[in-house]
């Protein structure tokens, strides 16, 4: 299937040819061979050691771990930039790597010509690129600079154009290596919004980042690498927590988990007649923690019934991390009269247009009786990041536009409130 990635028994060994190697120069190579016929093995570095891995189409996976743990090597193997020393890497579909944005731009020629060349290097046909040119120029937001030589660009314009070309290549798999760290805040936000839209379309994503907050909001699953081996793998929150505690030098695992459970005890209560077993936000088909503002999504609550009940309400409350209440809604207010809840199932709350301003939101989910008796009340069951190209302040971001008769002004070509464009 397009967008799937499979590693089996993959190892990658680097031989030093850098400053440490005698063989850096021809002269060195000559004498090395002459005097030491048997090469020393100390010049080898095992970057990845027997990695097995399977990523399904549409999944977003983060690679975390300390520096030198093999994250970027794994990414480059996925992109076909490096070849494994042993084992096989299978990737289906077009892969684009966001590794060094704007790499390969030639300073003397115009942005437009560079876009064509970069696009062709990424595997697009010339006419495909020309068809997408306007979209690329719009996203990069560089206006008439597109016809200027790239050498006069600011570094921001350079990176924006690089990003715009890479995502315009319409990949099935997108590899992202810390690129979101390079731009300014505005750029990062726009990129994140774009990536969220691509996720909705089912693009598989592999992310390398040291920004653990980004990892938990972006990825479904995380892989924790250390010295070329897979240490832990699972839901992003759990793996990030493990990595955080490892990084803090806390090796007392049992203690850590006990603490976590207790924290959860404060944030979740109820008599357990009905148990919420999962809360997910679905954008498109896949679950995600990231949703572009103004787009449609569904909140899916999966539950399991331990003692059948006749009186029940499903409810959802959105709030900001600082405690600001954003919205609350439940099935009772929506007019549903409960009859009986006896079998396991799921309840979805559908939002046709999630008109929230960009930022992080926490969602409480509950199933309780009409008088308030909680079967399962789960605070902060889900953390959702809403993205947008523009940093709208506040919590509500309705589609809007401006009409005027008096003022004279011109428009910068940038967004207005109605601009909830769809990827």
């Amino acid at each position: 299937m397009k967008g799937s990635i499979r590693f089996s028994e993959v190892s990658k060994v680097f031989r030093w040819r850098g400053s440490r190697s005698r063989r850096e120069t021809l002269k060195g190579a000559f004498f090395h061979r002459w005097f030491r016929r048997r090469g020393t093995t100390s010049e080898e570095h095992v970057a990845l050691d027997g990695i097995d891995l399977e990523i399904v189409p549409g999944e977003a996976v983060a690679l975390i771990g300390p520096n030198g743990s093999g994250k970027s090597t794994l990414l480059k193997l996925t992109g076909g930039i490096l070849k494994p020393t042993s084992g096989t890497v299978e990737v289906d579909g077009r892969v684009t790597a966001l590794i060094e944005l704007g790499a390969g731009f030639h300073p003397e020629i115009t942005g437009r010509e560079n876009v064509v060349i970069n696009g062709m290097l990424l595997g697009l046909e010339r006419r495909e690129i020309e068809a997408r040119m306007q979209e690329i120029v719009d996203f990069a937001d560089i206006g008439s600079f597109i016809d200027q030589p790239v050498k006069i660009y600011s570094s921001g314009m350079y990176v924006r154009l690089g990003f715009a070309v890479a995502v315009a290549a319409d990949p099935n798999v997108l590899l992202i290596d810390e690129v979101l760290a390079v731009g300014d805040e505005v750029f990062t936000r726009r990129c994140l919004d774009r990536l969220a839209r691509m996720r909705q379309r089912g693009v598989t994503m592999v992310l390398v980042s040291h920004d653990l907050d980004l990892v938990t909001s972006f990825a479904d699953r995380a892989l924790y690498l250390e010295r070329g081996r897979l240490v832990a793998e699972g839901p992003a929150d759990a793996v990030v927590a493990r990595y955080r505690s490892d990084a803090a030098g806390d090796t007392d695992r049992g203690h850590e988990e006990g603490q976590a459970r207790q924290v959860e005890g404060d944030r979740r209560w109820g008599n357990g007649d009905v148990e919420i077993i999962g809360v997910e936000l679905l954008t498109g088909e896949a679950p995600s923690r990231m949703v572009p503002g103004g787009s449609s999504c569904r909140l899916r609550i999966r539950y399991s019934v331990h003692n059948p009940v006749d009186d029940f309400v499903f409810g959802v409350a959105w709030h900001r991390a600082d405690g600001t209440q954003v919205s609350g809604h439940n099935t009772e207010l929506a007019g549903f009269v409960p009859r009986r809840l006896a079998s396991d199932g799921e309840v979805c709350c559908v939002y046709d247009s999630l008109q929230l301003a960009p930022g992080d939101y926490l969602v409480d989910v509950a199933v309780h009786a009409r008088n308030g008796l909680a079967y399962d009340y789960w605070c902060d069951a889900l953390k959702v990041r809403v993205t947008s190209e523009v940093e709208w302040p506040g919590v509500w971001s309705p589609p809007h536009r401006w009409l005027s008769t008096g003022p004279e002004w011109e428009k910068s070509g940038a967004k207005d409130g109605t601009d909830q464009k769809d990827g």
């Binding site: 680097f14 031989r15 040819r17 063989r23 850096e24 120069t25 021809l26 002269k27 190579a29 480059k76 992109g79 076909g80 930039i81 490096l82 070849k83 892969v95 790597a97 590794i99 060094e100 790499a103 390969g104 030639h106 003397e108 020629i109 010509e113 064509v116 060349i117 062709m120 290097l121 990424l122 595997g123 046909e125 010339r126 030589p149």
Partner: protein, 266 residues
């Protein structure tokens, strides 16, 4: 052969990159594209003055000397220019290689093709010079001039092979570039470019050594076509083509051997 097929498949990309190379070179200059005509013209003018009024070397069949020299130098400039640029092409494009999954063969090929384009742009100057010298009774016009198209084939193969080898070796060995400079110098003076082997008054040993130079046959077939106005003997043609094919084969073999570790070394 597989390299040819690969390059053919990516011909659109090669074409675009060659264009970029040529565009970028002339973009910031006043005369722009005319530089590629002006460069050989200036070179020829300087030779004409220096070797007519200051020195006047004599070789059998080497008259007028400025044109003799120019017709030997043009293909050499194609070869040496491409090889020198070739030693930097993969290093310069390192960031791209580390980012995009494109075959690295593209970059040395682009170097060769863009130098070939420059060479072809210089040919009209050579052609005009021959017409002028016919008109001024300096020499007879070489009617074999169109054979240059055939003579270029071994040049392209030999240059291609050398550029493939040099490009990948300079990534792995950083002193390759200096070495290439020296080797090119040696090769220049041991090739019959500023002299011809026939009229050479040197010890027989040195003559034999010079005759071994693989580039000699390539220079001869080229110059016979565009300057001397004769068709070289089949033996020389065969040698030239053999040199071209062997160079190409060796170069692509070296490239293949170092290809896998290329991205790591860049």
């Amino acid at each position: 052969m597989t390299v040819f097929r690969l390059l053919w498949r990516h011909r659109a990309l090669v074409a675009v990159l060659v264009r970029r190379e040529i565009d970028a070179r002339y973009r910031a200059s006043v005369l722009g594209f005319f530089w590629s005509l002006l460069n050989p013209l200036l070179l020829l003018a300087v030779y004409a003055v220096v070797f007519t009024y200051i020195f006047s070397p004599r070789f059998p069949g080497g008259d007028p000397y400025p044109l003799f020299l120019f017709s030997g130098l043009l293909p050499w400039l194609f070869f040496s220019g491409a090889v020198l640029d070739g030693s930097a092409t993969l290093v310069d494009n390192g960031p791209l290689l580390a980012k995009v999954m494109c075959p690295p063969e593209i970059f040395p090929a682009v170097t060769v093709v863009s130098h070939l384009v420059h060479h072809i742009l210089a040919l009209p100057i050579l052609f005009l010079a021959m017409i002028v010298s016919e008109a001024t009774d300096l020499k007879v016009f070489p009617w074999t001039f169109p054979l240059v198209a055939v003579a270029l084939i071994p040049w392209i193969l030999a240059t291609g092979g050398a550029v493939f080898a040099v490009s990948v070796l300079s990534v792995h060995y950083r002193d390759m570039r200096d070495l290439v400079g020296h080797l090119l110098n040696l090769l220049f003076f041991s090739s019959p470019i500023i002299y011809s082997l026939e009229g050479l008054q040197v010890p027989i040993v040195l003559h034999r050594i010079l005759a071994l130079n693989p580039l000699a046959s390539l220079v001869v077939v080229y110059r016979d076509a565009v300057f001397a106005g004769k068709v070289s003997s089949p033996q020389i043609w065969l040698t030239a083509f053999a040199v071209g094919i062997i160079s190409w084969w060796l170069g692509t073999r070296v490239f293949a051997a170092y290809r896998e570790t290329l991205v790591e070394a860049v």
